[in-house]
Amino acid sequence: MTTSTDIRTQPAWRYLLDIRLRLWRRNLADFWAELRKHPVALIAGVVILIYILAALFAPQITAHDPERGSLRQRLIPPAWEEGGSWTYPLGTDGQGRDIYTRILFGARVSLAVGLLSVGISVIIGLALGAAAGYYRGRLDSILSRFADLLMAFPFLIFAIGVMAFMGPGFTNLILALTFKGWVEFFRLARGEVMAEKTREYVEAARVSGQSHTRIMLSEITPNIMQSIFVLATLRMGFMIVTEASLSFLGLGIQPPTPAWGSMVADGRNTLLNAWWVSTIPGLAIVFLVLAINLFGEGLRDILDPRLKIE
């Protein structure tokens, strides 16, 4: 006789929790073993970690105030230059603020913007992309055309337009970056799900009695998370650069909150007599983004199953 009493339907959040737990357990040990074979990615990872620690413990690392300086201490050069002092290891800016301190606090902004904008983009892009790729049909047509439309705008111009319309600020910055940022993830997720859907394990899951929702979340998604993760890392560098560009233009983070982009902008007028004011935050951006990109490349080598020879 068919049993129907012992069947309960499971809420969707349990599938999601499940995926997270299973992926976590699976990957961590393998991942570490693989990472050690990619020294460049490993070094890049360490650099990123240093940035993250610096951002987290900024108030403990430095004694200076990031937002208020002393006008008598303006434009002091870095410690190794003539006239520099170790009180201000990387010198001071036009308002007498310690650049080292502002770099540390600026890392908070950059990392937060990178993580949040990419994180939200992944969630939106993955959800819509997976649904479009799995169900196809009209839903897919509408979403894909909308994505194509957004792809037609240059990213920075689009973000400038949105910021000009909504006004500057941290929240608006995240929104401006995600408005277009999800499209990349949508396209990737859609394509990957379409490819995965043709594989036999999906049919086998149907045959074993799984629902479409469950197959999409609990069977297919874990198989595409690696590509999503790689893209997320690579996009994070891009998001940080875009944030810096917007802040440079005065549309992003507003002074006096330290952001690397606006710090570069601050130093433009004194570039000839105080090069460090612009250059040092510029280098901070370069090193972080370079490290993220190198780490992303390494991650792709490690995680992409197509590159892996078993």
């Binding site: 068919t2 049993t3 394990y201 086998a204 045959v207 074993s208 009695g209 629902s211």
Partner: protein, 350 residues
């Protein structure tokens, strides 16, 4: 097999349609099958004759825009043709399980093999009790059952292999794992779609032996879909031969193999090579006909060496093909050939 058992799975006049640009194609037409508890039925035919479509029709998984057009699928007397999605999902995997041809691509590459077996237990709530965070022992009970099933299908060192990924298994082990997934919920019916085709001959024999053991120990009824009449002859109690979406011959294995009454079955038998014999294999000329463009009358008439003009007239029913066919009914030997009464098989040259 004991014919007094009530039928476990019954297909009545099952017809599955696929709309195409050139009109509707009947991939499965008017198929009647009866499967009893513990019975092994072989569904034999060339590629594209509708064997796999029969299995998917049973499970209600015909891809749109295809559909089951007519007929019924009865599971223990209950019509499951028109169940809702949720009701059908409770039958799939729980009452009727299916295994596939290519085990590697059928296993999900992202998960441990053991987890995939456990997934089917979880899906059908085979272990009672509240969900995971509330009842931590439940997972242990599920794991224990998984190890049990892995042992049963002959995966050595199941504890160690619980956490292996599918690609770390050999082909035979993968197929065993797939069978374990199918068996975890102790289904009543196992649908096997060419389960040995992708495997080495020696592994094939092991998998067949495994399925036979499962059949004997749990009385699981099996429908084996294969193009290998030799395999079906060795493994099945009954054989149904399909051609162009229809059953052309059905009956107890020994009768179908030893006295094939349909020219197509006879042709298939002549295609089987025998070890130690130097008899030339005689292929059946031509190909499976286009389902959208079938000849009138007998679909096999185009390739039949003894076809006559009358073969293209009218509709052919299954005819009794042995003396006791009518008496035994669906357990008897039947064939869909107009010339059954006067048709004599040319003797096989031994």
């Amino acid at each position: 097999m004991n014919d007094t058992h009530a039928p476990l799975l019954e297909l009545r006049n099952l017809t599955t349609m696929f709309p195409t640009r050139r009109g509707e194609v009947r991939a499965v037409e008017a198929v009647n099958l009866t499967l009893r508890k513990g019975q092994i039925l072989g569904l034999v035919g060339e590629s594209g004759c509708g064997k796999s479509t029969v299995l998917l029709s049973i499970l209600g998984l015909i891809a749109k825009p295809g559909r089951v057009d007519k007929g019924q699928v009865l599971l223990e007397g209950r019509d499951i043709t028109h169940l809702s999605g949720g009701e059908m999902r409770r039958i799939r995997g729980r009452e009727i399980a299916m295994i596939f041809q290519d085990p590697l691509s059928t296993l999900n590459p992202a998960f441990h093999v053991g987890e995939q077996i456990r997934e089917s237990l979880r899906l059908h709530h085979m272990m009672l009790g509240p969900p995971w965070p509330l009842d931590r022992a439940k997972k242990a009970r599920e794991k224990k059952r998984v190890i049990e099933v892995m042992q049963e299908v002959g995966i050595p060192a199941p504890e160690a292999r619980y956490k292996a990924y599918p690609h770390q298994f050999s082909g035979g082990m993968q197929q065993r794992a797939l069978i374990a997934i199918g068996l975890a919920c102790q289904p009543k019916v196992l649908l096997a779609d060419e389960p040995t085709t992708a495997l080495d001959v020696t592994i094939q024999a092991q998998i067949v032996a495994l399925m036979r053991r499962i059949n004997q120990e749990h009385h699981t009824a099996i429908i084996l879909v294969t193009h290998d009449l030799g395999l079906a002859a060795e493994f099945c109690d009954h054989i149904a031969v399909m051609y162009a979406g229809r059953i052309v011959e059905i009956g107890p294995t020994d009768q179908v193999i030893e006295e094939p009454r349909h020219p197509y079955t006879a042709g298939l038998l002549r295609c089987i090579p025998h070890v130690g014999e130097r008899r030339a294999i005689e292929p059946i000329p031509g190909n499976v006909p286009d389902l959208a463009d079938l000849p009138p009358g007998c679909a096999f008439s185009l390739r039949c060496d003894s076809a006559r003009p009358v073969c293209n007239e009218g509709f052919f029913r299954l005819q009794p093909a042995s003396a006791d066919a009518v008496k035994r009914g669906e357990g008897g030997h039947w064939a869909r050939c107009l010339r059954l009464t006067d048709y004599q098989m040319p003797a096989l040259e031994d």
